[in-house]
C-alpha cells in the first residue's frame, strides 16, 4: 500500500485577475521506501500540489477544491490545522530550495535543530542536544559538537542545505518532501547533497518526493516519475520509460530541450583569424571595509588574478566556474562595469581598458552585456519601445524618424511580436524578457557580447530557444561572445572554446570537445563528474 496517495487533487487561486487552476485533477502515489520525482517547468504546479497536501498554500487566495491525500490511511485534507502541524513535524519532513532564507539568521543551528524535538518529541534539552549532534554528524557536518552553537551565516550554502536536511529528518519522518533542494547550489555541491539524500533514503527506508525542474537530477534520484504541465499530470512511469521513450508531446519536448550534445554548427571563424579580443594579465581585487571618508583601506581580496585570454571574431568562449570563482567579476571587468587593478583589454585593436570619461561612454556600444536575471535587468517603468529606442538615440545610431522601424526590426530579430512594443517588462514571460535584453544589446551592433548566465533563470524549453537565438545572432553578426555559466552542458552546447575558472584563475582552457573528452586539470574532472545527464537505470 502506498504511504501517501494523492487522488484527484485540485487547487485554485482566486486572484484579482481571475481564477487560476494551479493543480488540476492530479493523482500520484509514493510507495514506502521509494523516491517519486515530480518534474515540470516553473508554473507547472509541481510545488503547489505538494504544498496543498500539507496545507501550506497561502489561503486566501489559494483553496484546495477537491481530492484526497491519504497518508498512512488518514486523509490529510480533512485534518485540522493542529493535526496537520503534528504530521508535518513528525511524519513528513521538508527541505526547500534556498538554504540561505529557510534558516533563521538570528538563531543558532543548534536551537533551530532542537526546536522540533522539544515541541514534537518532548525531549529534554540535553537529550535533544545529543539527538541534534547525531543528526548533524549523519548529514556529514564535521565537528558537530562545535558547530552546534554556530549561526547560519557561518555555514556555506551546501552546509546549510545539510543542516536543513538534518532538521527535516530529526524527528525520523516517514516521508521527505524535497522541493528543488539543489537548484541554488554549485554542481559539485549538488552532487554531494544528492548523494547524501540518496544514502539517507536507503538507510532509513524513507519515502521521498523529489520536486525538480532538472530532468538529469530526477533520473538519478527517482524510482517513479510524474511529469506535470500547467497543473496537470501529462505522463507518469519509471524514469527509463519516461525519459527514454517519452509518450506525451510535452515530455518529448522537455527531453529534446536538454542541452546534452556538442555544438550543433561548425565554428564560423578560422584558426588563423586574427585575435579580436585580447585580455592581458587582468587583475581585480575587492576592498573589504574602508568605504567612508576617513577610513583606511583594510584588506583586498583578489577575485580575478592575472587572467589572459583571446577570442576571435565569431567565436564563443565559454567561461565556466562555480560561485565565487570570479567568472562574473571577470566579465564585468572586461565590460568596464568594474575597474581593473591592472592589465589590458584590447578589442578590435583598441585598448578599451585605458578609455576614460566621455570616450569610454561612447565606446561602450562596442561591448554589451546580457545579464542573468531578465526580471531585474529591464527598467520596470520603461516600455519595450523606450528600452530599445534609448541606445539608438543616445548613440545616434539611426535618424529620429527611423527609430520605430529599427525597433521593429530588432523585435523581429529576436522573435518577438511587433505589437508588443508598447508593453512594460512585467507583461512578458522570463524568456521573452531575456529576448528583450538581447535585442537591447544587439541594438548597438556590438563587437563583443558578454553574457553572464543568461539562461540560468529560465526553464529548459525556453533555455534551448534562447541558446539557439544567441548562437544564430553571433554567427549572423560575426560578434565575439564570452558566455559565462555554471552549467557545463549549456556551455558545451554553445561554446567553441571553454575556459574553466577556479578561485580567480583559469585552470584549464581548450577546444570544447577536446576539453570535455579529455579534461586535464583535476578540478575540471570534478566538475564534469558532477554533471547529471539523463541516466538509465537498467
Amino acid at each position: 500500500m502506498a504511504l501517501l496517495s494523492v487522488e484527484h487533487l485540485t487547487s485554485r487561486f482566486y486572484t484579482r485577475d481571475g481564477v487560476i487552476t494551479a493543480v488540476d485533477d492530479v493523482s500520484f502515489a509514493v510507495e514506502p521506501g521509494q523516491v517519486l520525482g515530480i518534474v515540470g517547468e516553473s508554473g507547472s504546479g509541481k510545488s503547489v500540489a505538494c504544498y496543498s497536501v500539507l496545507g501550506l498554500i497561502p489561503s486566501p487566495p489559494g483553496r484546495v477544491e477537491q481530492g484526497r491525500a491519504l497518508f498512512a490511511g488518514q486523509d490529510l485534507l480533512q485534518m485540522s490545522a493542529r493535526q496537520l502541524r503534528q504530521v508535518r513535524g513528525q511524519k513528513i519532513g521538508m527541505i526547500f530550495q534556498d538554504p540561505m532564507t529557510s534558516l533563521n539568521p538570528h538563531m543558532t543551528i543548534g536551537r533551530q535543530l532542537t526546536e522540533p524535538l522539544r515541541v514534537h518529541g518532548r525531549l529534554s534539552t540535553k537529550e535533544a542536544r545529543l539527538r541534534a549532534i547525531a543528526a548533524l554528524e549523519e548529514v556529514g557536518i564535521s565537528h558537530p559538537q562545535q558547530r552546534f552553537d554556530s549561526f547560519p551565516h557561518e555555514f556555506s550554502g551546501g552546509m546549510r542545505q545539510r543542516v536543513m536536511i538534518a532538521m527535516a529528518l530529526i524527528n525520523k519522518p516517514q516521508l521527505l518532501i524535497a522541493d528543488e533542494p539543489t537548484t541554488a547550489l554549485d554542481v559539485t555541491v549538488q552532487a554531494q547533497i544528492l548523494q547524501l539524500i540518496k544514502n539517507l533514503q536507503r538507510d532509513h527506508n524513507l519515502s521521498v518526493i523529489f520536486i525538480s525542474h532538472d530532468l538529469g537530477v530526477v533520473s538519478h534520484m527517482a524510482d517513479q516519475v510524474v511529469v506535470m504541465q500547467k497543473g496537470q499530470v501529462v505522463e507518469r512511469g519509471n524514469p527509463d520509460a519516461v525519459f527514454f521513450q517519452p509518450q506525451h508531446a510535452y515530455t518529448q519536448k522537455l527531453v529534446a530541450a536538454l542541452p546534452n550534445s556538442a555544438k550543433p554548427s561548425a565554428p564560423v571563424f578560422q584558426e588563423q583569424d586574427p585575435i579580436f579580443l585580447q585580455v592581458e594579465h587582468l587583475n581585480k581585487s575587492y576592498r573589504i571595509g574602508g568605504a567612508g571618508l576617513f577610513k583606511r583601506v583594510s584588506t583586498r581580496i583578489p577575485a580575478v588574478a592575472d587572467i589572459s585570454l583571446q577570442v576571435r571574431k565569431g567565436e564563443i568562449l565559454g567561461l565556466v566556474g562555480e560561485s565565487g570563482s570570479g567568472k562574473s567579476t571577470l566579465g564585468r571587468t572586461i565590460a568596464r562595469l568594474l575597474e581593473a587593478d591592472s592589465g589590458r583589454v584590447v578589442l578590435a585593436g583598441r585598448d578599451i581598458s585605458a578609455l576614460k570619461g566621455e570616450e569610454l561612454r561612447l565606446a561602450r556600444r562596442d561591448f554589451q552585456m546580457i545579464f542573468q536575471d531578465p526580471y531585474a535587468s529591464l527598467n520596470p517603468r520603461m516600455t519595450v519601445f523606450d528600452c530599445l529606442a534609448e541606445p539608438l538615440l543616445v548613440h545616434k545610431l539611426v535618424e529620429k524618424n527611423r527609430v520605430l522601424q529599427r525597433v521593429n526590426e530588432l523585435m523581429d530579430e529576436v522573435g518577438l511580436d511587433r505589437r508588443m512594443i508598447r508593453k512594460y517588462p512585467h507583461e512578458f514571460s522570463g524568456g521573452q524578457r531575456q529576448r528583450i535584453a538581447i535585442a537591447r544589446a544587439l541594438a548597438m551592433r556590438p563587437k563583443l557580447i558578454i553574457a553572464d548566465e543568461p539562461v540560468s533563470a529560465l526553464d529548459v524549453t525556453i533555455q534551448a530557444q534562447i541558446l539557439n537565438l544567441l548562437l544564430q545572432l553571433t554567427q549572423k553578426y560575426q560578434m565575439a561572445m564570452i558566455f559565462i555559466s555554471h552549467d557545463l552542458a549549456v556551455v558545451r552546447y554553445l561554446s567553441d572554446r571553454v575556459a574553466v575558472m577556479q578561485q580567480g584563475r583559469i585552470v584549464e582552457e581548450g577546444d570544447t570537445e577536446t576539453l570535455f573528452a579529455a579534461p586535464q586539470h583535476s578540478y575540471t574532472r570534478t566538475l564534469l563528474a558532477a554533471i547529471h545527464h539523463l541516466h538509465r537505470a537498467g
Binding site: 485577475d17 568605504a291 567612508g292 571618508l293 564585468r332 565590460a335 562595469l337 569610454l360 561612454r361 561612447l362 565606446a363 561602450r364 556600444r365 561591448f367 554589451q368 552585456m369 545579464f371 542573468q372 536575471d373 531585474a376 535587468s377 529591464l378 527598467n379 520596470p380 517603468r381 520603461m382 516600455t383 519601445f385 534609448e390 541606445p391 543616445v394 548613440h395 520605430l404 505589437r419 508588443m420 512594443i421 508598447r422 512594460y424 512585467h426 507583461e427 535584453a437 537591447r440 548597438m444
Partner: protein, 292 residues
Amino acid sequence: MNTPADTNYEKGRSLWQDAFSRLKKNPMALLGLAVLVIMVTLALLTPWIAPYSYEEQNLALGASPPSATHWLGTDVFGRDQLTRILYGSRISLMVGFVATSVALCIGVLWGIIAGYVGGRVDAVMMRFVDILYALPFTIFIILLTVVFGRSLLLLFLAIGAVEWLTMARIVRGQVMALKHQEFIEAAVAMGLPRWRIMLRHLAPNVIGPIIIYTTLTIPSVILLESFLSFLGLGIQPPQSSWGSLISYGVETMEEYPWLLIFPALTLSITLFALNFLGDGLRDALDPRISKD
C-alpha cells in the same frame, strides 16, 4: 483579441501619459484631485468672492456662532470666519505647495546624486545634511529673521531648507538599493550619460516613496507656518492662515468651538484629498500594479 489599444500600438505614450490614463480609472484619486482643484480655485478667487473683508472688525458682534449672515461664525473681534479661512487658504496652500516643491526639488536631486555617485561625494553631501539636521530649527529661523528681516519669500526658504533634508535621506537610501540592480548596470553598460541614468532610470523608480513623503510634507509645512508666524516670520495679524486660525482656535475651543472646528475641518479635507491623490498617483506610476 484586437482591442483598440492593440491596433494603434504604434502611437507612443510616455510613463506620465500612461499614468494619467490609469489615474482616470481611480475614482478616489479623481475625487482628491477635484477637491484640490476647487480649493485652489477658491483661494485664487478669494478677493472677489469673499463675503467680508478679512480685517474688518465688528466688536459689537464679537464671537458669534454660525448664522445666516456669517455662515461659519465670527471670531472675538467679529471678523467673518469664512472670509478668514478663504484668505488663509491663499497663504497656506501657497506655503504648502511652494515650500514642498522647493524641498522636493532639492531633496530629490541631492539624494539621487549622493546615492548614485556614492563614495566621497556621498559622504560629504550627507555630512552636510547631518549638520543642517543638527542645527536647532528655532535658532536657525531667528537668525534668518535677524539677518534678512521678515518676508514671505524667506518663509519658503526657511521651510524648504529644513524639509528637504529628510527627502534627501529617503531618496538616497532608495537609490543606494536600486543602483546595484541589473537594469542600472545595463544602462551604464549601454553607455548612457550619467544624468540620463539618474533622471530616466533612477528617478521614476523611486517615485513611490517620494510621493508618499510629499503628501506627508504638505500638511506638516502648513502647520509649521503657524509656528513660524508665531516667531515673527511669515504672516502677521490681521492676515490669516489655516495654521494661525487653528492655533487660535485651540486657545478658545472651550468657549467658541466653531473657531477650531471649521479651520481644522478645511485642513483635514485638504489632507484627505492629498492622500487619495497621492496614493492614486503612486499606483498609477507603477505599471506593474494596474493591468491594462
